[in-house]
Amino acid sequence: MKTLVRLEKVKSEERDSREVVAASDIFRAQVSGVCNLTIFMESHLPMFKEKNLQLEVVTELIRGQHPHLKGVYKNKSQRVICVKNMDPEDILLHATRLRNALGRKVVKLRTRHVTKHPSVQGTWTTAMKY
């Protein structure tokens, strides 16, 4: 019998971190069967739940699918990680990564500095005189 795990997580992508902190994050996990994921469920998931009270963790049994973690973010995007044949420590690492991320699309970075006000003292031009 194949086992399945789903981890749903909701997190705000808004700039205002007040929303991030106060968001009702949902973190669901769906597990069944005897596999490393069940070991993770018994050993690491309670501690994960305690550390992240803002997340709603749900476990579900879905037959016929590989065990996976599913993160649902506040910007309505989903991230699915298959954890078939992974050690419980690796599963915890992936769950932590899901929890740390914002849910935005993974695209190559254009710039490392994103700003709406690029200049304070005025943009330099060739005609500028001090």
Partner: protein, 261 residues
């Protein structure tokens, strides 16, 4: 080789010399000038040698050769084991940092973790026309209030943590500029950790043409996104940019009053 043959001959002809030898297997064989002569006259050769090569007693020459081979193999195996152990410990084990080590390493990179962001904290302010050049690790950024920055993964902080960036190289406002030598003392930039994420995958493809060599490797860099909240150490202008929101409801109220009237 000649010395080894000579010693084998010695052990056969004069075993009494090697009976009280120690078990150590040092391979110190002092050179001697007349090799050919000494091969025929072992007694004179012995007189010339200050040291003797010691073998364990009551062993035949074959066993001595085997012991030499085993000794060499053991030494090689020991070296290999050491290398393996070092490699395993470096790659597999995670170093457990103490609080002091964490602070020291973080300060070395250029930041200090203050604590987690609380709901009561009113950290996010409207834009102020003040900028700072801050250094994190080996990268420098020109930041202002409300900017977001992608840096290398900062180890000792989690999401929604408040940070203070200490290495401020330059502060500037519309009327004033403070240049650090190299850093400005008593200046700080406050930031909040927004996320720890992985960058998009970069495929590293190596090929040597006509040599049947092709390698593909994927790499995802770990990044941290910081949101800059405050810059301290410079006088900020008093005339702050007022947001437009209060004016709109005031206008609406005026319209409603006019309609009712």
């Amino acid at each position: 080789m000649a010395s080894r043959r000579l010693l084998r001959a010695l052990t056969k002809t004069t075993p009494f010399l090697f009976r009280n030898s120690s078990s150590r297997r040092s391979l110190v064989v002092p050179p001697f000038s007349h090799a050919n002569a000494s091969s025929t006259k072992p007694a004179s050769a012995i007189a010339q040698w200050p040291h003797l090569r010691y073998f364990s007693s009551d062993k035949h020459s074959d066993e001595d050769d085997n012991s030499e081979d085993d000794c060499g193999d053991d030494e090689e195996e020991d070296y290999e084991d050491d290398d393996d152990d070092d490699y395993v410990s470096a790659s597999g084990g995670k170093k457990a940092y103490t609080a002091e080590e964490k602070e020291a390493e973080a300060a070395d990179i250029g930041y200090r973790v203050v604590g987690p962001l609380q709901k009561e904290d009113d950290v996010f302010k409207p834009y102020e026309p003040v900028f700072a050049v801050v250094q994190i690790g080996s990268h420098q950024f020109k930041v202002s209030n409300g900017d977001s920055i992608f840096t290398e993964r900062l180890k000792f902080c989690e999401v929604n943590d408040k940070l203070i960036l200490n290495k401020v190289l330059l502060l500037g406002s519309a009327s004033q500029t403070i240049v650090g030598r190299p850093i400005v003392p008593d200046a700080s930039v406050h930031a909040v950790v927004e996320e720890h994420a992985l960058d998009a995958k970069v495929i590293i493809f190596k090929k040597k043409r006509r040599k049947n060599y092709r390698r593909t490797k994927g790499h995802r860099q770990e990044l941290t996104k910081l949101r800059i909240t405050d810059i301290q150490g410079i006088e900020k202008p008093q005339n702050a940019i007022k947001p437009e929101k209060p004016s709109k409801p005031a206008k609406k109220e005026q319209e409603k009053v006019a309609v009712i009237a």
